[in-house]
């Protein structure tokens, strides 16, 4: 498959938005809208990601527009950075490709009372110990195993069922999106294969772009929001990026298998097999939704256990309890998910299935789904960048409800393919280069590090600039990495 330059129409709407009109392809039900700017636009046109935005506009029941965030890049079926909302009352569909294989891949940020000067002398041993204790990479089982009823409980209830075992606190649950539990999760719809893949992987990081980073708050942009979240300049934090591991991948794969002939059955014409879908109000649609929600709950348990293991390592290295170290969860937010939410379209309130594939919920101040403590500032949005430059904490803004079904970007977005990144590294040791910049990085594979090197990504600062200007979410704090562990 050729990585052709996108030749279709892209009409500028305003400073941060470009349109692919629905006249571009017969079959498009709505326009495509890409949030970007003059700086990022040439990069976006380089591959078929805009074509994928147009293809998503074919989905039955799609509302308003097929949307893409500024970190858009070429995915499979849906682009990464894509948002699509469908109305079940208008024959709207649910599409596993609009969620992705890694169901509820997401990010959490934990603060601490430690400052850069407290951590610097111990940084190498801290990162080494995190790398020893936290399972990373493929083919690894974790220190926790959940079978039978216990695994079902994780899938049905999410991390709240870890509270009784001392692996989570009520406060952790409070600051997790949806309290770490999607209602309507049905573990009985999760296949034996998926359960087998998940049973020993809860609390493992995985590979690819997943990471655990020790970061420092580099700059504060919104004093009040930062204060409310407990963030201060020079504070050491831990950011965790992972998802539902093999369990989620298998749930997605099982759904795609089940849906192979389903679009035809319902008379749905699709331009790409990977967009396979079923009407929300169909037995097939409901089966996927029940299993997907269970996988999402599992992902929250995974990130909770990763955080718990990180707390244990900090305790050992600094000789104080994690509570004394102030290692509290700031927020956990997912960026691969479909959720049933209330939005206003054409002046009417409607309940829609919002697919976010590499896109983050960004609810504005006063939204009822935001934890009480954050209600005045808006929902925290955590944007992982690359391991050399920066990550960001943002807050949701009213513009997101008006323009993007309450959504913003999810990361830097890749600028280079994995193959190109390895070629660009040309055998250089990326870990040594990072160390020269003050970042200690540990990974299972040098090739993995080369594929994930900073240059392989767009500059996350530029991506954040767009969503800030578009009023989808505002800057609160910029974080810079000092320690990285990866698969």
């Amino acid at each position: 498959m050729a990585k052709d330059v996108f030749q279709g129409p892209l009409e500028q709407v305003d400073e941060t938005c470009w349109r692919i009109p629905k006249s571009y392809k017969p079959g498009m039900r709505v326009d495509g809208l890409i949030f970007t700017d003059e700086t990022l636009l040439p990069q976006i046109k380089k591959d078929q990601a805009p074509e994928q935005v147009a293809n998503v506009a074919f989905l039955p029941g799609i509302q308003y527009a097929s949307l893409a965030m500024p970190d858009i890049h070429w995915g499979y079926g849906f682009c990464i950075g894509g948002v699509c909302a469908t109305d079940p009352e208008e024959g709207g569909v649910i599409s596993p490709g609009g969620v992705g294989y890694d169901i509820n891949c997401g990010v959490r940020l934990m603060r601490s009372n430690l400052r850069l000067r407290d951590v610097q002398p111990h940084l190498r041993s801290l990162v080494d110990e995190l790398f020893r204790q936290i399972p990373t990479g493929a083919g690894k089982s974790g220190q926790y195993a959940f079978h039978g009823k216990e695994l079902h409980q994780l899938l049905a209830e999410g991390p709240r069922c870890l509270v009784g075992r001392g692996l989570a606190t009520p406060r952790d649950i409070e600051f997790t999106e949806a309290h770490g539990r999607l209602e309507g999760a049905d573990p009985d719809l999760v296949s034996e294969r998926a359960l087998a893949r998940g049973s020993e992987q809860c609390g493992t990081l995985g590979s690819g772009n997943h990471f655990l980073e020790v970061q420092v708050v580099d700059e504060i942009f919104d004093d009040e929001a930062a204060r409310v979240m407990g963030l201060e300049k020079d504070m050491v934090c831990v950011m965790i990026h992972s998802g539902s591991r093999g369990l989620g991948y298998q749930v997605c794969d099982d759904a795609l298998h089940m849906l192979r002939k389903v679009p035809e059955k319902y008379g749905i014409v699709l331009p790409d097999r990977q967009l396979a879908c079923a009407p929300v109000n169909s037995p097939e649609g409901q089966r996927y939704i029940g299993a997907m929600r269970a996988a999402a709950n599992f992902a929250w348990c995974n990130r909770q256990l990763l955080m718990h293991q990180a707390r244990e390592v900090f305790q050992r290295i600094f000789g104080r309890s994690w509570q004394e170290l102030g290692m509290q969860l700031v927020y956990d937010v997912c960026h691969n998910i479909a959720k049933f939410e209330e939005h206003t379209v054409g002046g009417k309130k409607r309940r829609l299935w919002v697919h976010r594939k590499g896109a983050t919920r960004a609810f504005p101040p006063n939204h009822p789904e935001i934890p009480e403590a954050y209600r005045k500032i808006g929902q925290p949005v955590i944007i992982p960048g690359d391991m050399g430059r920066a990550s960001w904490v943002l807050v949701g803004r009213p513009g997101s409800m008006q323009k993007t079904f309450g959504t913003t970007c999810h990361g830097a977005g890749r600028a280079m393919s994995r193959t190109a990144a390895v070629q660009a590294a040309g055998g250089r040791r990326i870990d040594k280069e990072l160390e020269a910049q003050g970042v200690i990085a540990r990974a299972q594979s040098y090739r993995g590090l080369a594929e994930e090197q900073p240059k392989a990504y767009k500059n996350v600062d530029e991506v954040v600039e767009v969503v800030h200007k578009a009023d989808l979410s505002h800057k609160v704090a910029r974080m810079r990495p000092i320690g990285v562990i990866k698969g």
């Binding site: 498959m1 995915g75 294989y101 890694d102 990479g137 493929a138 590979s207 991948y249 393919s417 594979s445």
Partner: protein, 136 residues
């Protein structure tokens, strides 16, 4: 004969072979070559057999690679040699390999899934061609 090709966030596998049987066998090798740094470190100590039903060749390829991925994820098994017979109703395959041994096998990537995006299995003048993109 197989090679990888670039796909922004993921990785493509392109396989060419004189017959369908060898195309599927080489697809197995191609998958192992992106999971492990050096698949020649795998010793063919044990055999595993599998039958997969299906009449669509492209879907059959996805199912075959998924079966291998599942063996890796759950049983931590890696394979080096493959023998596949593609029949009108599906395939039967044997694979020879061993349990993953971190002392000898260096992992390079986690393959999350075999996708349907850009999926093709087609006859060519010289035999068969398959392309499949895996999610990393």
């Amino acid at each position: 004969m197989y090679e990888t090709f670039a796909h922004t966030a993921d990785l493509g596998l392109r396989i060419r072979a004189p017959s369908l049987d060898s195309l599927f066998a080489e697809a197995g090798e191609a998958l192992m070559s992106i999971i492990l740094d050096d698949p020649t470190t795998i010793e063919p100590r044990e055999a595993w057999q599998v039958q997969i039903e299906g009449d669509d060749l492209a879907y059959l390829l996805v199912d075959w690679l998924n079966a291998l991925l599942y063996r890796f994820d759950v049983g931590h098994r890696v394979y080096r040699r493959f023998q596949v017979q593609v029949t009108p109703g599906g395939l039967s395959a044997s694979a020879w390999g061993e349990p993953l041994d971190p002392a000898r096998h260096r992992l390079q990537r986690e393959v999350k899934a075999i996708t349907y995006h850009g999926l093709r299995v087609e006859p060519t003048e010289a035999g068969w061609l398959a392309e499949v993109i895996v999610d990393i």
